[in-house]
């Protein structure tokens, strides 16, 4: 679900994609939410422009659509980073230290929940139970679950994601102090 979105699609391509999505789904009853889900899954996020297109195609007021989008936490109207890190704050993870993980990540990435690092590499989200409670605390980086994570091991955990990106990375990779990296 959090697969890397095609961020550089130009607007003609986007239009066509939205057309296809709406066409294929609009005949079912209660089609709006499935359409929005499909649109977000292929575009990465729901821009105002995309929502306006959907509004036109469905012949449904924009305000109604944006009301639905803002109601559900699954929808995002902001572009996400290449990797979305979701820290589980379900109860099992919470009592086994999920909150400490989140605090540490905020510090390492220098962002708050819902934000994206400046280099567009990481976005930070929280989740509520990924079904791996036996292995708590867990976090997800895109579709991959990491289990029994310790705050002190976070920097090492993120390292491969950063180096994988090195070819394209600029100088402003997320701030990780030397101490953390050990």
């Amino acid at each position: 679900m959090t697969s890397t979105p095609a961020l550089h699609q130009n607007s003609a391509e986007q239009q066509e994609l939205l057309h296809n999505i709406v066409d294929s789904l609009k005949d079912q009853e209660g089609a709006l939410i499935p359409i929005l889900q499909a649109a977000q899954d292929s575009l990465g996020f729901l821009s105002t422009e995309s929502l306006k297109t959907i509004s036109k195609l469905l012949n449904m007021p924009y305000s109604e659509i944006s009301g639905v989008v803002s109601f559900y936490s699954y929808f995002t109207t902001m572009p996400r980073g290449r990797y979305t890190i979701r820290v589980c704050l379900g109860t099992a993870c919470y009592v086994r230290g999920g909150k400490q993980l989140l605090e540490e990540l905020k510090k390492i990435l220098q962002i708050e929940v819902g934000e994206t690092t400046e280099d567009k590499l990481f976005s930070l989200e929280v989740g509520r139970c990924f079904g791996a409670c036996g292995l708590a605390p867990v976090l997800m980086i895109n579709d991959e679950i990491h289990q029994r994570v310790k705050p002190t091991k976070l920097a090492a955990l993120l390292a491969p994601y950063k180096s994988e990106n090195d070819s394209e990375a600029t100088d402003e990779s997320p701030k990780i102090s030397q101490e953390d990296a050990q």
Partner: protein
């Protein structure tokens, strides 16, 4: 048996996260490389339940139970176990503290984690490949549907459910036969619907997810039986978008059932037709509430509406709608096949059958368990769960998630059923069971749940929207050391208002975690308020770490552990903590071998 051996690899979410897929692939490759594909079948199943020990691999017919298997172990398993017939001892479950330990435990039935369990809902989880309908059918799958379609009238199905006494597993525990009967009798519309609630909102619970991942056909079969019974042609499964594996297995299962004429037009050649569609939830806890869920399927914002009228007569698009939870459905084929009397023979006077719990938190054997109603919490925690790890003391268990409460030591021997849990100030809920030890602060737990409900309130009605925030605010204030005695009265007043005046269950039950912790742990609240102390060591604003000069030997362990370099000192000299830099993570406290660091 077509094969000489079966290798079952757990494909549940927990084990997948520790590379079960790679294990499966490697095993398959090894079997092929040894030209054994004709004799040995490798199968990926649903969750075995014992997630803590995952990834799990089980080999039949010997029933050998391997735990914590790694992808690189595949070769040894095939070479030794399959080819030479010698079990790989080092991978066999042998937790030194398992009560039944002799040397190593090779079989599931000898593991205490499994002994007190009774599997109806999870009958096929860990037994079959959920992506192969033939395996479900081989274990009596779709036999209940056949029986219903050819030998039973709708009234008889309802009678059987009534005899079984099954009650909803989604939280409220409403008798299932009554719901079905209302919808069956509804005359306001010819069109009717069957809906499966797979929203599983309780944070920290994954029973429904595992059932769908491990045995999707059981739910499809039950929904189809419901369709026949109430006269519906269409079903919807509303499932969280965060459950990709369950969704993909459901899609496969639906297609397979259609291909075999078990779903779709003219099922099994009869004139009964029934179709099932999947709808993805979009991340709103309140959408687990039935009226909000139905609004969401209709494409609207998922806000609850007042009942009555109930969905049973005025549900989806105002048509009569049966809505049940995943676990409720998963029971039904067995009730039809084995009879209501059989089902009613399990459990207590008011609560029949079994309940699936996600047993998590401070517990040795964390995992998914299914137990008969009436079992005690002590049996669950100590016999199945193996007790509390790290020599800590049990403090409380929480059931019912954000709508529930805590159960304390003195009630460990109460038989668990709907009524008893309610009497204790908790609820059965959907099956989250979180064990907490002396290091958990009850006020912090209440705050955790309130934070959740405030976040998830749909905002439609004021008591929930405003009351929740106020409650949270008071808890927060107390946790920071600014609480006053009167705050407790205030919390009680707000709770009462929310319980009475909120529109839906979310707001009505949101104060429960506060009420319940106040009831059993008032001292702990008072300690925060009057002594400004949190003896569990959780509320950071009330904590300070110090190094005792006379005990510190200057080993530098703490300084090296500290993530923010707040500890200074020369080797072999007493160390010191810079209180301004300290983030109170407790790493040093845990690390010091000389008890030189105090927390208070």
């Amino acid at each position: 048996m077509a094969y000489r051996s079966y290798i079952l690899v757990c494909g549940g979410t927990g084990c997948e996260s520790s590379h079960a897929d790679k294990i499966y692939q490697n095993l398959k490759n090894e079997i092929e490389a040894n030209k054994l594909s004709e004799q040995v079948q490798v199968i990926k199943t649903g969750c075995f339940g014992f997630c803590e020990q995952g990834p799990i691999v089980k080999i039949l017919p010997e029933n050998t139970f391997y735990v914590q298997v790694k992808p690189e172990d595949a070769k040894e398993l095939v070479d030794e176990h399959i080819i030479k017939g010698r079990p790989v001892e080092r991978l066999i479950y042998s937790a030194s503290d398992d009560k039944n330990r002799k040397s190593v435990i090779a079989e599931e039935k000898d593991i205490s984690f499994y002994q007190k369990q009774y599997r109806i809902v999870l009958r096929n989880c860990g037994m079959i490949d959920p992506e192969v309908i033939e395996e479900y059918i081989a274990r009596d799958g779709y036999a209940a549907l056949e029986k219903v379609l050819f030998d039973m009238k709708p009234e008889q199905v309802i009678d059987e459910l009534k005899k079984a006494g099954i009650r909803g597993r989604g939280g409220a525990g409403f008798p299932t036969w009554m719901k079905w009967n209302f919808t069956k009798g509804a005359t306001n519309s010819e069109t009717k619907y069957v809906v499966c609630n797979a929203d599983e909102g309780d944070p920290g619970a994954y029973m429904d997810r595992s059932t769908l991942e491990g045995d999707p056909h059981s739910v499809l079969e039950a929904m189809t039986i419901a369709g026949y019974t109430v006269g519906a042609q269409k079903g919807f499964i509303y499932i969280r978008a965060e459950y990709p594996l369950a969704i993909s297995r459901l899609k496969i299962a639906i297609q397979q059932a259609k291909d075999m004429g078990l779903l779709g037009d003219n099922i099994l050649g009869t004139d009964f037709s029934f179709d099932i569609e999947i709808r993805l939830g979009a991340g709103a806890f309140v959408c687990g509430e039935e009226t909000a869920l139905l609004a969401s399927i209709e494409g609207k914002r998922g806000m609850p509406i007042p009942r009555p009228p109930f969905p049973a007569t005025h549900g989806l698009w105002k048509k009569p709608t049966v809505i049940n939870n995943v676990e409720t459905y998963a029971n039904i084929p067995m009730i039809i096949l084995k009879g209501g009397d059989w089902f009613a023979s399990i459990g207590t006077e008011t609560s029949k059958g079994t309940k699936v719990f996600a047993l998590t938190g401070k517990i040795k054997n964390s995992g998914l368990i299914e137990v008969p109603m009436g079992i005690t919490l002590r049996e669950i925690i100590y016999d199945i769960g193996g007790g509390i790890p790290n020599g800590r003391k049990f403090k409380a268990a929480q059931s019912g998630g954000p709508s529930g409460g805590v159960i304390t030591e003195e009630f460990l021997d109460t038989p668990i059923d709907y009524e008893n849990l309610a009497k204790l100030g908790s609820i059965m809920g959907s099956g989250g069971l979180i064990v907490m030890d002396e290091d958990d602060c009850m006020l912090d737990i209440a705050k955790f749940y309130l934070d959740f409900t405030v976040d998830e309130s749909c905002g439609k009605c004021a008591p929930c929207r405003i009351g929740g925030k106020q409650l949270y605010g008071l808890l927060d204030k107390i946790s920071q050391g600014n609480g006053e005695l009167d705050d407790i009265n205030k919390m009680e007043d707000i709770s009462l208002a929310m319980q009475r005046a909120s529109l839906c269950g979310l707001g009505q039950t949101a104060p429960n975690p506060v009420a319940s912790t106040l009831r059993y742990f008032k001292d702990e609240y008072l300690e925060h308020i009057t002594d400004k102390k949190c003896s569990a060591g959780v509320c950071k604003d009330l904590l300070q770490f110090n190094i005792l000069k006379d005990k510190c030997v200057g080993c530098t362990v703490c300084a090296r552990k500290c993530p923010v370099n707040a500890i200074s000192g020369e080797r072999k000299q007493p160390h010191e903590i810079d209180q301004n830099a300290c983030i109170k993570c407790g790493e040093c406290y845990e690390a010091c071998k000389f008890q030189a660091i105090t927390r208070g």
